[in-house]
């Protein structure tokens, strides 16, 4: 190594002794540029190996509680989120694999903004649904899900999608099967109304250039570019707040995608 550098160093030394250091400064500048480029590549590389698992869903779906449970196992009282929180989640069976869990706020006026910010980093998306309030909220749930699914970045990266039907500890909770069925129906309707909406100001259709699922066929989740799974879970757990949460399915899925 040193031997190979010798002649270069010699040249450098000569250069330094020379009356005009212009050549040297040019060299230095080139070196700086090269280093910057290297760093840039490095950062870019990092970015493209998407590490984040986003927790999405409407207000009160239970994202933050799931987030806390996954990370600490403990129950925490939560408040409507107004910003994102993120932490490294170590997948249980394998110490080396980990992902960054990001809990996003579900409030109407915040969610799209935060989705925008984090969508490019998403390796996978957990879409949390409140199975108890589902009947009432089905339109809103479908609308948000639709917005996520037709997003061009999401379509391009096709992150794995898990629809977590939360709050299964409550007796009134709807089953994952029913939720899937209803969501498919609702998304099918949305697909029609959105593609018929007036074109948006900058020329693109409001539904985005993307058409959800296959044309001419009733929508179902298998038509999407990403793998979609449904799982029932409960962040509260059947034993209430002291007990453990009930989300093996979710943990398994996280282990799989990590």
């Amino acid at each position: 190594m040193a031997g190979r550098l010798e002649p270069h160093l010699e040249a450098l030394r000569r250069e330094l002794r020379a009356p005009d250091p212009a050549v040297l400064s040019v060299l230095l500048a080139l070196l700086a540029v090269a280093i910057t480029l290297l760093i840039w590549r490095f950062v870019q590389g990092r970015r493209s190996s998407r590490q984040a698992v986003l927790l999405l869903g409407l207000c009160d779906a239970g994202k933050t509680l799931l987030f806390a449970r996954l990370l600490t196992g403990k129950y925490r009282d939560t408040q409507t989120s107004i910003t994102d929180s993120s932490a490294v989640y170590r997948v249980s069976n394998d110490k080396s694999a980990n992902v960054t869990l990001i809990d996003l706020p579900g409030h109407e006026s915040l969610r799209l903004q935060f989705l925008e910010r984090f969508k490019a980093a998403a390796r996978a998306i957990v879409f949390v649904v409140d199975s108890v309030a589902f009947q009432r909220e089905v339109k809103d749930v479908a609308e948000f899900l639709y917005q996520v699914l037709v997003d061009s970045t999401v379509l391009k990266n096709a992150p794995a999608l898990l629809i977590a039907c939360n709050k299964q500890d409550v007796t009134m909770a709807k089953s994952a099967k029913l939720i899937q069925h209803q969501l498919e129906k609702e998304l099918n309707t949305l697909r029609v109304t959105r593609s018929a909406a007036p074109t948006s100001l900058d020329g693109s259709a409001t539904g985005g250039p993307a058409q959800l699922g296959k044309k001419g066929k009733d929508f179902d989740f298998s038509q999407l570019p990403m793998k979609v799974e449904f799982v029932e879970c409960s962040a509260r757990g059947s034993k209430g707040e002291e007990g453990d949460a009930d989300f093996e399915g979710l943990e398994k899925w996280l282990a799989k995608i990590a």
């Binding site: 950062v43 990092r46 970015r47 590490q51 984040a52 207000c59 009160d60 933050t64 987030f67 806390a68 990370l71 600490t72 925490r76 009282d77 939560t78 408040q79 409507t80 989120s81 107004i82 910003t83 994102d84 929180s85 993120s86 932490a87 490294v88 960054t100 990001i102 809990d103 706020p105 409030h107 109407e108 006026s109 915040l110 799209l112 903004q113 925008e116 910010r117 984090f118 490019a120 980093a121 339109k139 609308e143 309707t189 949305l190 029609v192 109304t193 959105r194 018929a196 909406a197 007036p198 074109t199 948006s200 100001l201 900058d202 020329g203 693109s204 409001t206 707040e241």
Partner: protein
């Protein structure tokens, strides 16, 4: 550290903060039921401090208390916030009870010394302390019991309740605090309250200026056919208000009518509004945003640590008001130049300042770029509808229930109500829904004929033959001078009987200060309970926008018989083709109503109907 405020109240505090963030916040206190909530933001550590107390009490020490608590809490847990990250916060305990009790006592003492008039009896203060005590919780206590506690206390509660929520240092969990019961008022309701307050304030201010002779002037202006540079060249096509005043149906023989002109170029690129620059602006913005996500993961590694150190060395500076003021001033002027109502520009900048004050700036960012970024976010958030109005979706629902979907159009004179009503009819018909147009403008000469002409043209474009013999659009008219509310009602029942899918109710233009006409409109809406009330406003409007919307909403609220008054549900922004990039009206209108802009009118042909694109509008706003 367990926040102890009432679940409901605090919940709505959070809820409305979510909205407040976009700049509707104004001052940092508001009332919720019987409580006044005061809050303070610490942007550096991302903390929120809330004090709640009975609204009837005039507690002089609240400001001091909140400041003291803020300082102590911040200093005590400074290290945790800075170092531990989310996981630390999740696991950490923030036992602040004793400190809080001491601070509260101090604050109470000091207020007694300074202001003997608001002094409490010994008993009262004891009581209040007791309340505080059971409100503030220790970690061990079971949350369930706490909820019960709160409920039992009910109306007896008299003291202050303080809430300290841990935020996050880098990526925290403000939300991992507490709330018990979540029923009571919904977020919308508290928002509504805030808005009502805004109206009240505004009404007072507006009263003085309302005597201007504007009504006549505006009315005249409204009916002049205009030729816009940007509009379609066949500009007159949709304006039948003049040609048809003689009322004869033969005024516009169908033969003369060329469907292509009325339609405009159906296949033309609709993007003519914006140039390429614009789009690239957008992309650049996106790039910036995308960089963020890499932050959380990068931070964890050794690289992150190094960065942190470097950051410390370079000396990250926290923003002060003085730093921001010149930039904000510039931004405010910029917004006003883009036709945002002055009042709203001021409030927006104020809220951006509040959100940024004390925030630690990134090393390589400038004050200007930080402020710009925050403002941009706030603007996007304003334009993002609270609840999207999906007309087609709702029409389908109504269709399933075998009832017509009723839309009422209202607005001041000449803004384009009738024209855009016709465009929306066209759009609905194209989507296979039949439309009944109710001519409830029984006031302005020619109004009914204008609609009649539109109906005929629409029927030529979509003859019954191509729709299985079904008449797709029909006019329900009862001439002039009659009661508009009555005609609307008849039209709706006619539509129900005849199986029309949608009823579009055209109303007479009215100035917001014309009390009798406003009352009539409110009555029409109260009686007929339409599914959608659309306010039609021109994109040309500047400061007037605030006054118009506030007064329209006020009139609707005043005459509503329902418990939750029926207000404007959405906005139609017309003449968007005439304003170049001065798109401020979109901000003003959504800011005041926080209702979405459902349609945008961009010209005078049936095809000139668009939906809003928040990003495009914000890009136009921010463009120098």
């Amino acid at each position: 550290m367990r926040p102890a405020a009432q679940g409901g109240g605090l919940d709505h505090f959070w809820g409305s903060r979510g909205d407040g963030d976009d700049g509707r916040g104004g001052n940092n206190s508001f009332t919720h039921e019987a409580l006044t909530l005061k809050y303070k933001l610490d942007n550096q550590f991302e903390l929120v401090f809330v004090v709640g107390f009975q609204k009837i009490l005039t507690l002089t020490y609240v400001d001091k208390l909140i400041d003291d608590v803020h300082k102590e809490f911040r200093d005590k847990y400074r290290n945790e916030f800075q170092q531990k990250g989310t996981l630390g916060l999740l696991n950490g305990t923030f036992d602040f009870k004793d400190d809080f009790m001491r601070l509260l006592r101090d604050a109470e003492e000091s207020s007694k010394v300074r202001a003997p008039t608001v002094m409490k009896t010994f008993e009262q203060s004891l009581k209040s302390q007791k309340t505080v005590k059971c409100m503030i919780e220790t970690r061990g206590e079971k949350p369930k019991e706490k909820v019960k506690n709160k409920k039992n206390k009910g109306s007896k509660k008299e003291g202050t309740e303080a809430v300290v929520a841990p935020g996050k240092a880098s990526a925290g969990d403000k939300q991992l605090s507490t709330a018990g019961d979540r029923e009571e008022l919904t977020k919308d309701e508290i928002l509504q309250k805030n808005r009502e307050e805004f109206f009240k304030r505004h009404m007072k201010a507006g009263e003085k200026s309302s005597k201007s002779p504007k009504p006549e002037a505006q009315k005249e202006k409204g009916k002049k056919p205009r030729v816009w540079d940007l509009g379609n060249s066949n500009a007159k096509v949709l304006d039948y208000s003049n040609s048809a005043t003689n009322g004869s149906a033969e005024a516009c023989p169908v033969e003369e009518f060329d469907p292509d002109t009325a339609l405009g170029d159906r296949n033309r690129e609709p993007g003519r509004l914006y140039d390429l620059e614009y789009e690239s602006d957008d992309e650049a913005e996106e790039e910036k945003v995308i960089q963020n996500p890499s932050k959380p993961s990068a931070k964890k590694g050794g690289l992150g640590g190094m960065f942190g150190m470097l950051k410390g060395l370079v000396g990250s500076k926290s923003l002060t008001r003085e730093d921001m003021d010149p930039v904000l001033e510039k931004m405010k002027d910029h917004l006003i130049a883009k036709n945002v109502a002055a009042e709203i520009a001021v409030q927006l900048c104020e809220s951006v300042a509040k959100k940024l004050e004390g925030k630690v700036m990134g090393t390589f960012t400038t004050v200007t770029s930080t402020v710009k970024q925050a403002l941009q976010e706030a603007l996007v958030q304003i334009l993002q509808p609270q609840r999207r109005v999906d007309v087609l979706r709702d029409v389908m629902d109504a269709q399933r229930h075998h009832r017509p979907y009723v839309v009422t159009f209202c607005g001041v004179n000449g803004v384009g109500k009738s024209t855009n009503l016709a465009k929306i009819s066209f759009w609905l018909i194209e989507n296979g829904f039949s439309v009944l147009i109710a001519a409830c403008d029984t006031f302005r000469a020619g109004a009914v004929e204008q609609l009649r002409t539109h109906t005929r043209r629409l029927n030529t474009l979509h003859p019954p033959e191509s729709h299985g013999g079904r008449t797709m659009v029909q006019l329900y008219e009862k001439g002039y001078g009659k009661d508009a509310a009555g005609i609307a009602m008849e039209a709706i029942s006619y539509a129900r009987n005849q199986g029309f899918d949608v009823v579009l109710v055209d109303t007479a233009g009215r100035m917001q200060d014309n009390a009798p006409l406003m009352t009539a409109l409110a009555k029409l809406i109260a009686v007929n309970a339409p599914d959608l009330v659309l306010f039609v406003g021109e994109a040309l409007v500047g400061n007037e926008a605030v006054d118009q919307l506030v007064k329209f909403n006020k009139a609707l609220a005043d005459h509503s018989m329902a418990q939750t008054p029926r207000l404007i549900d959405g906005i139609v922004l017309t003449k968007f083709d005439t304003i170049d990039d001065k798109v401020g009206a979109a901000i003003s209108m959504t800011y005041i109503t926080s209702k979405p802009i459902v349609f945008v009118g961009t010209g005078q042909t049936y095809c000139d109907l668009r939906s809003l694109n928040a990003k495009a509008v914000v890009a136009a706003l921010m463009k120098a």
